[in-house]
Symmetry: C2
């Protein structure tokens, strides 16, 4: 394993044939990561599954890491796209605060349902690859900004919170819970219930608490 050997930028595919080759390679990588896991994902196996020679693979991806990173980038872009779509769909002003939260959460839960196994492998392995942290940041930063700026417009519904802190807490919690739910699929906990629970979690955290008094509570 010669670690970092060549970091020269490889040629970009121009002809349709080459586009197809690159696409096959990425699809094969995703398939192997999803079904056989990180350890089984070596460049020879990817090339074989893609139906191209190992040499072709290295024509477009200078290293194994760059291959996985490229796949992660694609995966991340898709995720960010879903979030942006959800935001613009909810920005008509027709939905209440509560309804909007539920809408976002439903989008996130649905996103995690798409390809949870691949998502897991990428989340676990990409951060330690060269450039992997950048890939992660290129999604998480705008995603957080999107959430934060929405929260900003909803100040009147919120208790006194620091928006940065609240964004961090909410994004992390929603991501983690919906991710793990997809992987472990606990009995009783289907997607729709998950949306409900996460909405409770988020709303309970954000909403203005009632003045203490009447409602039955002890201590």
């Amino acid at each position: 394993m010669p670690s970092i050997r060549s970091e020269s930028p490889r040629k970009k595919p121009t002809q349709a044939r080459a586009q197809h080759t690159v696409e096959s390679i990425l699809r094969a990588t995703a398939h192997i990561l999803r079904t056989a896991g990180w350890d089984a994902c070596n460049t020879n196996a990817v090339a074989k599954r893609a139906g191209v020679s190992i040499g072709s693979l290295y024509q477009y991806f200078p290293s194994k890491e760059s291959l996985v990173t490229a796949l992660a980038e694609e995966h991340a872009a898709r995720g960010l796209g879903v979030l942006m779509e959800a935001v613009s769909a909810a920005s008509g002003g027709k939905l209440s605060f509560e309804q909007t939260v539920r809408h976002y959460i439903r989008a996130m839960v649905a996103l995690h349902a798409v390809d949870p196994k691949l998502h897991r492998v990428l989340m676990e392995q990409v951060p330690r690859l060269k450039g992997g942290l950048d890939v992660m940041r290129r999604v998480s930063t705008p995603a957080a900004a999107l959430v934060r700026s929405w929260l900003e417009t909803q100040r009147k519904h919120l208790r006194a919170v620091d928006l940065d802190v609240a964004t961090f807490t909410l994004v992390t919690a929603v991501e983690a819970v919906s991710h793990l739910q997809m992987l472990e699929r606990p009995a009783k906990l289907d997607q729709e219930l998950m949306v409900e629970e996460l909405s409770q979690l988020v709303l309970g955290y954000l909403k203005i608490p009632p003045p203490p008094g009447p409602p039955g509570r002890a201590s």
Copy 2:
């Protein structure tokens, strides 16, 4: 990399000298994982850092995986111990519901502060190792049971929730948020604030909501 070659149980150390060897090996493994990461953690490097020969390492750990798994087991046991301690410390009946939640969360946040880098590597890599999922389960199952059984005693403070679902949601969210906070250390978000935010998150999710009416809220 001969994958699975020998799975024979290796001898358990009996003399003090051997105990020390085993301990050195585990400490070296932890050190390398923490400071140099998963890729740098090969058996030769571990042996070198531990100051023992590679042969000695294989006398006690039949494979690289068993070595990491053993470390994970130790790490996990420590974590479960902290939780159990927190539960017994809070079981005097002197603390209110809110105070107890805060007490648990403080313990969890403190736990994640101990060795976050190592924790991250183990959480990311152990699940895919042979027997790794069992190690994870041997902590997460009793931990969840502990939380669940406490919630059960607090029914009168809770809104109508399925305890299994609530346990899953809370444990996952608290773990993920405190873990990520330690790794990213966002400005503004110190440990004490984290405890506060997570307590808000958990209490907002669990507590009986107020009857709709007077308190200022829109929509």
